[in-house]
C-alpha cells in the first residue's frame, strides 16, 4: 500500500515546511506563553527554595514579607531561637528598588541576610559568599553585574564578590544580597538632601530643639536615622520536627504570624500571581483557539487545492477512508513539524525573555497531545469537504 500523505508531503515539502514553520512559530508562542506562567510559578517557588527556610515569621495579621509589607524588631529572632524545635532563625530584609549600575539602573530586590543563616544565596555560579560584614554583595546574573563591579545602593558602594542564578523575587526581579546591617540601613536611608531636610525640619521644631537642653536635638536626629526593623525572620526547624508544630506556639504566644512552606506557596501562587496567571491562561486559550483555527484553515485550503486530484482519486476508485487518512496524516504531519519547530524555537528564544520562562517537559508533552488533537479535529473540516467532492467533477461537463 502506498502512503499518499507522505508522498504529498515529500512532493510539496517546501509548502509544508513553510506552513509548518508558521504554525511552529505559533505553537512556539503558545508554549512560551505556558512557559511564562510556569516561570512565574517557578519564580515564586525558587524564592521560597532559595530562602532555605521552613518557617517565615512576619508581623501579625500580614501576609508578609513578599505579598505584603511586614516589619519586625530585629531582636525578635532571639526569642524565636529559644523555642523548642528551632534550629536556626535569622533576620532578613527585602527591599525592591532600583539599583544603580553605571549610568542606568536595574530593578532588583535587595536582600539583607546574615552569612551562614537562612536567607543566604543557596548556590553561586561564580565568586564567593560574603565574608565582610559590610559593603559586599552577591548579585543575580540577571542584574548584569560582573564580579568586582561596584553596586551603588542608596549612599554606599558594594563590591560584587559572587554571582548567582535564578535568585529572583516573586515579581521576577533579580536579587542582590547584601549584609543585613547594610540592608537595614539602606531600607531606611534616604538620600542626602532628604536627610538634610529632615534634620532642618526637626531643628525648627521648638519642642524638639529646646533651648537649655543641650544634646536633645542630636539625640532625636540620631534616633531618626537608625532602623532596627527587619521584614521577616526565617526559621529552619530541627531535623524531624514538623514546621506546623513549631509555628503554633509562635502564633499563639509571640503575637507574630508564622507561615509554613505550604502556606507561603499558597500566598505566593494563589494570591500574588493569581491575576497574572488568569491573564496568561486567557491568552493561552485564545492562542490555542487561534492555532486550531489556523491549522484547520491551512489543512482545509490545502485540501481545496487538491480537489481535482481528490476527485480523480475518487473516480478511479480510491476509498473514502484512504482519502480521509491522507488528509488526517497530513494534518498530523503538519502538527508534528509545527510542534518540533515550535519547541525548538521556544527553547531558543526563551532565554532572551527578561523574565524567566520555564519550558516544562510535561507541558511540552501535553502541548504535543493538544496539537495532535487540534490537528485531527481541524482535519475533519477538510475531510468532510474532500468526501463531499463529486467524482464527476473530474469528467467535467
Amino acid at each position: 500500500m502506498i502512503n499518499l500523505a507522505g508522498r504529498d508531503i515529500l512532493h510539496s515539502w517546501g509548502k509544508f515546511a513553510f506552513t509548518g514553520l508558521g504554525l511552529g512559530l505559533l505553537i512556539g508562542v503558545t508554549l512560551t506563553m505556558a512557559g511564562v506562567y510556569r516561570g512565574m510559578v517557578d519564580d515564586a517557588k525558587v524564592l521560597l527554595n532559595n530562602s532555605g527556610a521552613d518557617l517565615w515569621i512576619v508581623q501579625k495579621d500580614t501576609l508578609g514579607p513578599y505579598a505584603e509589607s511586614s516589619s519586625l524588631h530585629d531582636d525578635v529572632y532571639r526569642s524565636i531561637l529559644g523555642l523548642p524545635g528551632v534550629a536556626q532563625a535569622a533576620n532578613v530584609t527585602y527591599l525592591t528598588m532600583q539599583v544603580r549600575r553605571g549610568d542606568t539602573d536595574v530593578r532588583a530586590m535587595v536582600v539583607g541576610f546574615e552569612p551562614g543563616q537562612p536567607g543566604e544565596p543557596g548556590y553561586l555560579t561564580a565568586g564567593r559568599q560574603i565574608t565582610r560584614s559590610h559593603y559586599e554583595a552577591v548579585a543575580d546574573v540577571k542584574t548584569g553585574f560582573q564580579l568586582g563591579e561596584q553596586i551603588r545602593i542608596r549612599r554606599h558602594d558594594y563590591t560584587v564578590v559572587g554571582l548567582t542564578r535564578r535568585m529572583v523575587s516573586s515579581g521576577g526581579d533579580p536579587m542582590v544580597f547584601i549584609p543585613l546591617k547594610d540592608a537595614q540601613e539602606a531600607q531606611f536611608l534616604k538620600d542626602n538632601d532628604a536627610i538634610l531636610n529632615e534634620r532642618a525640619r526637626t531643628a525648627t521644631n521648638p519642642s524638639l530643639n529646646r533651648p537649655g537642653v543641650p544634646g536633645l536635638l542630636e539625640a532625636i536626629q540620631a534616633s531618626q536615622a537608625s532602623n532596627r526593623n527587619v521584614n521577616t525572620v526565617l526559621v529552619r526547624v530541627q531535623a524531624g520536627q514538623s514546621p506546623e508544630e513549631v509555628a503554633a506556639p509562635i502564633r499563639r504566644w509571640k503575637h507574630l504570624q508564622a507561615y509554613t512552606r505550604v502556606q507561603m506557596e499558597e500566598i505566593l501562587i494563589a494570591k500574588l500571581i493569581a491575576t497574572s496567571a488568569k491573564q496568561i491562561a486567557m491568552f493561552l486559550v485564545i492562542l490555542a483557539i487561534v492555532s486550531a483555527a489556523i491549522v484547520a484553515f491551512i489543512i482545509y485550503t490545502m485540501t481545496l487545492g487538491k480537489i481535482r486530484e481528490i476527485a480523480v482519486l475518487k473516480l478511479i476508485g480510491t476509498r473514502s477512508s484512504t482519502i480521509a487518512g491522507m488528509i488526517l496524516q497530513q494534518a498530523l504531519g503538519l502538527g508534528l513539524i509545527g510542534f518540533i519547530i515550535g519547541k525548538v524555537a521556544a527553547t531558543f528564544w526563551a532565554p532572551a525573555f527578561p523574565k524567566y520562562v520555564l519550558l516544562e517537559s510535561g507541558d511540552a508533552i501535553s502541548g504535543f497531545i493538544a496539537v495532535m488533537i487540534i490537528c485531527a479535529l481541524a482535519s475533519t473540516l477538510a475531510i468532510r469537504a474532500a468526501l463531499r467532492v463529486d467524482p464527476a467533477t473530474a469528467i467535467g461537463g
Binding site: D75, Y123, R128, Q129, R132, S133, H134, V161
Partner: protein, 396 residues
Amino acid sequence: MNLAIFRSRSFGLIVLALGLLLAFAFVVLRAGPLAPTQVTVNPVKEGKLTPALFGIGTIEARRAYLIGPTTAGRVLRVLVDVGDTVKAGQLLAEMDPVDLDERIAALDASLARAGSTIAASDAQRRDAQARNQLAGMNVKRYQDLGEKRFVSSSAVEAKQQEAVSAQAGVSAAEANLAAARQDSLRLGAERDGLRQQRGNVRLLAPTDGIVTTRDAEPGSTVVAGQAVLKLIEPASLWVKTRFDQGRSAGLALGLPAEIALRSNPSRLLAGKVVRLDLVSDSVTEERIAQIAFDTLPTGISVGELAEVTLKLPTTQARFVVPNASLKRLNDQLGVWLYQEGKAKFVAVKTGQSSLDGQVEILDGLSGGEQVIVHSAKEISANSRLKIVESLAEAGK
C-alpha cells in the same frame, strides 16, 4: 538528469529533516530535565589561611574638649573660628560679665567702709582703755582715802563700781573691733570671689588643639555646661570601629590594621588596635575597638567613614575549601563532592575563614576530593553533573 535532480532534492529533504531532528534532540537534552548541571570543582588541599576581621568605623578624636561657661550667660564675643589652631591658655571666647564689675566696685567700697569702721572701733577701744585706767587709779586712791577715813565707804564703793564698768567698756570696744575686722575680711573674700567669676567669663584653651565647631555666636545665651566651642587634639585621632560580634573571634589589642578611608579607598593606611571596649553594643551586636593610625594622615576629617581590616596571624590549615562550596542540607553543614558525574554530600566541620572566602575544614574531608564550588542550579544527589572551567559565560 531527472534522477539526479530527484536525488539531490531527496538529499536536501533528508538534511533538512535531520537538522530539525538534531535541533530537537539538542533542545530536549540541553534544556530539558535530562540536561546535566554545569559545575566547577576545586580539589581539597592544604593551604595557608589568613583569617581577618572586617569592621566599619568612624574617625573620632580620643580627646575632645567642650569649651563653655560654668554659669548661664550671654556670649560676648568669640575670638576663634572652626579650623583655627589654638595654643593652651589662649583666649577663645568671652561671656558677657553683665554686673560683675559693678558688684566688685560695690564690694571695694564696702571694704573701704569696713576699714573706717575698724579705725572707729579701735578709737573707741582706746577711749575705753583710758577710762578703765582712770577708773583703776581712782579706786586705788579712794581705797587709801577710805582706810584713812577721809571718805565714806560708800564713796569708795561707787568708785569700785565705776572701775568694773570701765573694764566692761574695754571688752565691748575690743569685741567691736574684732567684728569690724571680720566684716572687712568677709568683704575681701567676696570681692575675690567675684574677681574669680570675672576671670571665668573668659574661655581659655585648655590644651593645644583645633577648633572643630563653633556652637554659639555673640549675643546668644548658653546654659551652664553648654559648649560654645569644641576643640580636639588632632594628634589623638583614631578610628572607632565596630566589629560584628559573630565574626570578632581573635580580636585583640595590638593587632595590625589596614584602614581605608572613604575619601581615598584605594590607599590603605596602617594602624593597630589600641583599645578594646569591654562593653559591646548589645543592640547592634557589635564589638567596639579603637584603631590608632601609625602615622596620622593629613587631610582627614572627624566623622569620616573608614573600613578597617585586621589581619590575624597566618595559620597553616590542613584543608581549605572556598566558602561558596559550603552548603546546608537537612540541618547539616557540608560540601558536595564530585564523584564520577554524581554529587555526594559530606558533612564537614569548619574552622577559621579568611576574607577572601577560604574556609578551613577541621573534619569530614581527607584531602584530594573534588569539591563542587559553583553550580548552574541547586544540586541534589540525583543531579547529572558536567564539569566546566567556569560558569561566567552563563552570566551573560
